[in-house]
Symmetry: C2
Subunit: 501 residues, 2 copies
């Protein structure tokens, strides 16, 4: 069958649309693996996913893509130019890594993950150390293949946060650290805050019903999504028309499911809001992990842990749990959900200490890649940093340098995106507040369409049309800046803890 | 990257393994579509499935397959010969249909399905008639592409039941009809049987718990499967390591979920029992719909509706539902689950009348394809056949010729496999009973490993190693024969209804 000749743009788009469909299919299989897979089906699912990866990789590295990209004429629109830019980047990233390297990495990562699970269970870093040694070496090789100007970390970090660099991260992290470390110390000397109201028995169906009510009020669409239960909560997208979230319920602690669901719904509303003109196109993907995290953290924290929000929501949670919360004043509940306490575990950290966890990892990743820190020295260096930044020392490796899965998955350069997301969440929220003068009153009244509408307009719809820094600049008028986030933390937590500036 | 040269068998196997993985991925997406898809995600899922189909079709029709098949030497084992046979058949079927035809068919089928839904809701055949006209024409074209010796129906029916022919079906159906029609008449004059015990309020969680207990006792593995809820129950396999079943619960009727689950578990145990030496190979597929149905109907009816089974199971269901069944004697329950009553709806039919529904469809399909029946005459012809075989006349098209989805999906030649399955279920069950002398006592004692073991050994493990007729012959020593089924129906139902032979 002879194919009708097409212009290179049409051919390119059709080819990328197939890749997008296959990647969505892969995401469905991964979701199912996490949510509903029978115990004995893991190897078979692994095989199915490996084959899909291979088929996608074959298409993503097809030299025809290079040909079409070379043959593209002057773009006839900004979106066409953006598509060419994104397609060039993805083709470059896909083709830069030799097949042998990718296979090595996959194999070593599998072994590292299994070793990490065992090492963490035994709280014994030495079991994981030889694997981490290989992971670091592979990341350095990967950085070499991908190319960089200044620091190998740039090449790795750019995979997750296009356009961001080690230097930029260092600069904003320095600002944030200098503000956060003294704030944590001051809070330790402030008034006592108890989270006892949250640590009672809360039935799972009622936790779920309340969380669903909240995220529906935010604007998460169950017509284009669903909520399931998993050990590790996540959001995943199979196109903007099907963006699913998961959560886990602790029957003795209200926070994990509630704030976890608000967080994942924040991620999901971003995906649900991408312009449908980008369906089946690489422009239809969320642009970076940092921007993604800015959305989840905004709904979780700037809305979901704000006093104004709970003026509206608190009577409803009291009605759901009258025995547990009927006699707890709003101010006590608000304090409980915002309690600051240095801890060892990043994912359970409060808003103030969270970024210190991230900074520890960022600095240690840099030192490992630069070779200034030996693998064997990692546990000690980790514990020293926790002492310096958080004033506490992990009692063992499991609660220390073995707590996060990322390195065992081969991912270095990922952690900073969590804090970049926090920083941008405040920059974006304040821009929204300027543009929507009723924002505060809206939230106190349970009306979220003003905020969501602004985010849709200024962030969500754009997908990957703009690079993250440009998206931020267009939405806020500013570059990445820790200032507003620092001010927000000081304002909120100095008031809550009754401490002087 | 230059590939190492391989022998054609190795290359062929690797190529088919990828197709198998992709087909399993497609099955996951279809399962999710039926079970958990958000309402607004249907078009996106349709697109993902269409792309997977296209990618699979490209690989399945890759001329390299033809090259490898031509280059294969003498098979070194029976399994190698079987693989070559199955691969040749699939390559032939995949390549015989022109791309334009497949696209036309897909498009016309989509329109036909939508029209059928509307026509059934309105109970108005005229809305569906022009679509059925096209479906018949397309099936005739398809038969021409696929090729046949005697009757176009042969080519279509062979897609579902390899090696079966119109003439063979006609012959066994004639035997069965001649025995069934008088049996139905006699039963109508036999004693009254009431299914009132089944038509009470049964809570869904308890229905589910009991059904799960039964299929676990049968040997369905939840380690390699799961049970979910859907409007239309089904079983689906994503490799033998993950075979899932679904059911639906009627809170006012015990039968649908209970017998539906036993039925789907029968299908699923077949897939779970295929030899792992056929993983990722076309030999790892169930060989035909008829053989598949023989397994589901065996567990549903020959075990699940037998007196011996309920001697063991009845005290348990009474314990689960003491208020509803505590005072109902076993004999009344056994009669209730075996009540024979001519009805309009195939899927709700009892064991005796079920095949008459199938015969009506088979005969009408033949007449439509032969052109001896005009589309416009179908409702009348349908109703006349129901009068002749079942003694009842559908009051409208919805309960008449519009009740089944198959034709709207473009499928003609499929229906006979339901009855072939029934017939083979008895042939296989009797062979198992000969080989396992304790079978009856085992079932009365709730022990099913003897039966399942025999089925594993003689049916399940073989996957597509043997053609259906050969599989049946090896397992039973006989060819397809309605005799044992007719004898079984007469024995069971004449006793139950107290009527003379």
């Amino acid at each position: 069958m002879t194919k009708a000749p097409q212009d290179p743009l049409t051919d390119l788009k059709a080819h990328l649309a197939v890749i997008s469909d296959l990647a969505q299919a892969q995401a469905v299989l991964s979701w199912d693996e996490n949510v509903y897979l029978p115990e004995g089906a893991a190897p078979a699912r692994g095989q199915q996913l490996a084959t899909l990866s291979r088929v996608i990789h074959e298409r993503a590295t097809d030299p025809k893509i290079g040909g079409w990209l070379d043959a593209l004429g002057e773009p006839s629109s900004a979106d066409e130019a953006a598509l060419a830019r994104v397609a060039r980047r993805e083709y470059r990233l896909s083709t830069k890594l030799p097949g042998d390297f990718v296979e090595d990495f996959t194999r070593i990562r599998s072994a590292a993950q299994a070793a990490w699970v065992g090492a963490r269970a035994a709280s014994d870093f030495s079991q994981f150390a030889p694997h981490l040694e290989k992971i670091v070496a592979l990341n350095l090789r990967q950085a070499d293949y991908l190319g960089y100007d200044t620091h190998p970390y740039d090449a790795l970090h750019d995979l997750y946060e296009m356009g961001s660099t080690t230097e930029k991260v260092r600069a904003v992290f320095a600002d944030l650290r200098d503000a956060t470390v003294p704030l944590v110390r001051d809070i330790a000397e402030g008034r006592d805050v108890s989270d006892a109201p949250l640590r009672q028995v809360f039935s799972e169906p009622e936790q779920e019903a309340f969380a669903v009510k909240m995220v529906e009020a935010f604007g998460y669409s169950f017509r284009h999504g669903r909520l399931d239960r998993t050990v590790h909560p996540f959001a995943t997208s199979f196109s903007k028309y099907d963006v699913r979230i998961t959560t886990r319920y602790d029957p003795n602690f209200l926070s994990p499911a509630l704030f976890g669901t608000l967080h994942e719904a924040g991620h999901a509303m971003y995906e649900q809001g991408i312009s449908s003109s980008f369906d089946r196109s690489p422009l239809g993907a969320a642009v970076s992990l940092g921007i993604h995290e800015s959305q989840s953290r905004m709904w979780e924290n700037l809305v979901g842990r704000s006093y104004g929000f709970w003026r509206w929501a608190y009577p409803q949670v009291q009605e759901t749990f009258p025995a547990q919360l009927g006699n707890v004043p709003l101010d006590d509940f608000y304090a409980a959900i915002n309690k600051v306490a240095p801890s060892f575990i990043r994912v359970e950290a409060d808003e103030v200490t969270y970024n210190l966890h991230v900074m520890v990892r960022f600095e240690l990743e840099l030192a490992l890649l630069e070779g200034s820190l030996k693998i064997s020295e990692l546990p000690e260096a980790w514990n020293a940093k926790y002492g310096e930044y958080l004033g506490i020392t992990p009692p063992n490796d499991a609660e220390g340098c073995l707590q996060d899965i990322h390195w065992s998955l081969g991912m270095m350069g990922y952690f900073p995106t969590y804090t970049l997301g926090n920083i941008m969440s405040v920059q974006l929220f304040e821009a929204a507040a300027s543009a929507v003068p009723t924002l505060g009153a809206d939230i106190e009244g349970g009306r979220f369409d003003g905020l969501l509408g602004w985010l849709r307009e200024n962030v969500h719809q754009h997908g990957s049309r703009f690079e993250p820094a440009e998206l931020l600049r267009r939405a806020t008028g500013s570059d990445l800046d820790a200032g507003p986030y620092v001010a927000y933390l000081n304002r909120k937590f100095r008031a809550l803890y009754g401490i002087e500036r």
